[in-house]
């Protein structure tokens, strides 16, 4: 005898431990099977794109911290690169290296969080995430030494970075880099062949390479589907063209591969940092532009307001979550005419329905975890 059941609607979120912020997933279920998945977002919408049209280019830098608040450095970097492109500013060599180093440290911090929280979603309650937080904490300490903040960093400036690193920074960074490989080996032992993680994630939420490209998915998700596309290699910015590293690529495009790609990227970031710390030259960290002021110790400070020429530009970088781009239109005024954030978290959500329809509720939680969204960046 078959039992007929009516579709049943379950709201996952907006307040739910596995939605990674205030994000709502409206699942239509037949028993345990998902018939339809609808995303409801906007709980964290702060209308940054409109606010930015009323503020000067320099005043907009703190907004970029608050989009992807787990990777503020890369948010800063993409925005200042867009404005520099618009104004054709050459950034000093040392500032380029500092940007690269900070972006890679941020990637380790962000991926550590992503992997830890993903293990949480799989059922490894809190232990892996606490291990990951231990390393993230050390990186946040380095950020605090460099710019005084830990989360919303506001470190990059148009034309360079806000200040040079103090003398104690490099020894502490070297100590951290010596520690991390041991830790990563520990995590790989703990998680990579973990029976529960493999059972929960192998063959779940599969995206083929063609689907991933058609759905504009970027970052570790795209690479897990087998597309070797990394903007750091394809279109190098800052000092990435001088570094040697490999692109981590998956084969199956399932949740497990995304997790493995992130773990592999942790190793690659470490490899890059080891090179970058030794290759960084001495010199100024900020270009003098327009009405820059100069501090008594010789450091240039970005002007609060300036007027880029009329035009438009799109600059993108490889943020920990994927292609982070800033599209800026200037009408020659002191504030952007249009300020658009191409946010990877938001666009990576597009195939969520494709991936989750037909699977179970438990899988939907793991799939959402594998996308690694930051709701501040989804809603902006």
């Amino acid at each position: 005898m078959t039992i007929k059941s009516e579709p049943f609607v379950v709201n996952v979120g907006p307040q739910h431990p596995s939605t990674h912020g205030v994000f709502r997933l409206r699942l239509t279920l037949d028993g345990e099977k998902i018939l339809d998945a609808d995303m409801v977002m906007g709980y964290l919408h702060r209308s940054m794109e409109k606010l930015a049209e009323e503020r000067t280019y320099t005043q907009n830098i703190p907004f970029t911290d608050r989009t992807d608040y787990l990777a503020a450095m890369t948010g800063n970097l993409a925005y200042v690169m867009a404005v520099e492109k618009l104004m054709e500013i050459e950034v000093p060599e040392r500032a380029q290296w500092l940007r690269t180093i900070m972006a890679e440290l941020q990637r380790i911090a962000s991926h550590a969080m992503a992997v830890g929280i993903f293990a949480n979603d799989c059922g490894a309650w809190q232990t892996p995430v606490m291990h990951m937080f231990r390393d993230r904490e050390k990186i946040l300490d380095l950020f605090e030494m460099a710019c005084g903040a830990r989360l919303t960093l506001n470190y990059m400036r148009i034309g360079g970075v806000s200040k040079d690193i103090p003398d104690e920074w490099l020894p502490q960074a070297h100590r951290l880099l010596k520690d991390l490989p041991k830790r990563f080996a520990e995590y790989e032992d703990l998680l990579l062949n973990n029976e529960i993680i493999v059972a929960r994630s192998r063959g779940v939420g599969v995206l083929t390479a063609d689907q991933a490209m058609a759905y504009s998915v970027s970052g570790p998700m795209l690479r897990a589907s087998g597309v070797a596309w990394d903007i750091r290699k394809a279109d190098p910015y800052a000092a990435y063209d001088k570094l040697d590293f490999d692109i981590a690529v998956g084969t199956n495009g399932d949740v497990y591969d995304r997790f493995v790609v992130r773990l592999a990227e942790l190793r690659q970031s470490l490899h890059m940092l080891e090179q970058a710390l030794d290759m960084m030259p001495a010199g100024p960290v900020h270009e003098r532009i327009g009405t820059s002021t100069v501090q008594p110790w010789g450091q240039a400070v970005a002007p609060l307001a300036f007027r880029p020429p009329v035009g438009e530009t799109y600059a993108r970088i490889e943020s920990p979550r994927g292609e982070l781009g800033y599209y800026i239109v200037s009408d020659g005024g002191p504030a952007p005419f249009r300020f658009h954030i191409r946010s990877p978290s938001f666009i990576n959500l597009t195939p969520l329905k494709l991936m989750s329809v037909g699977s179970t509720v438990a899988d939907a939680i793991v799939i959402l975890g594998s996308i690694d969204i930051v709701v501040g960046e989804v809603d902006r």
């Binding site: 409109k50 279109d235 438009e312 658009h340 597009t350």
Partner: protein, 173 residues
């Protein structure tokens, strides 16, 4: 390095295949006529010499005289990028064809452009507001948003488009 295909180059290539599909070509971008948009973009995606299989970004801009949608295309195969635009001069009910049939990744981005700029994408299977709630008055990223009924009126003169202030771009004074 990603090769930036200029608007003039891409416009020339489109002209070869689709005569009179290009409305305007600038060094930064090429403007395509709305009625030929889906044909042109499908060709750019499928043609082996272009292979723009990845829609990097889709967004709208209120240019005051017209509303435009900007497509940043990426060819992973050839490592090239280019910019295509389409315009709608009708501010009351602007509409352009949806590119969801070309790239499924446009789905959420078109919803965002509809929500914040009020551009209707004809053929989008699920065109609803995304960040703001149904019934929200006006489209906030429009330059004349503060004139909308129910719009916020902070009473600050530096806001463009307030009643009595002619609508113009800043920086023109």
């Amino acid at each position: 390095m990603t090769t930036k295909v200029t608007g003039l180059e891409i416009a020339h290539a489109i002209e070869q295949q689709f005569p009179d599909a290009v409305a305007e070509a600038q060094p930064e971008f090429a403007v395509v006529k709305p009625e030929r948009l889906v044909d042109v973009l499908t060709w750019l995606r499928d043609d082996a010499d272009h292979a723009y299989k990845f829609l990097s970004s889709l967004t709208g801009v209120d240019r005051i005289e017209w509303l435009e949608v900007v497509y940043h295309l990426e060819s992973i195969k050839h490592n090239r990028a280019t910019v295509i635009k389409v315009r709608s001069e009708d501010r009351e009910s602007p509409s352009v064809p949806s590119v969801v049939p070309v790239w499924a990744g446009a789905q959420l981005q078109e919803r965002e452009a509809y929500d914040l700029l009020g551009i209707r994408f004809e053929g989008n299977p699920d065109l609803r507001r995304i960040f703001l709630w149904d019934g929200f008055a006006g489209f906030p990223l429009r330059k004349d948003y503060l004139n909308m009924p129910g719009g916020q009126m902070p009473g600050l003169e530096r806001f463009p488009g307030e009643p009595g202030v002619p609508l113009s771009g800043r920086g023109t004074e």
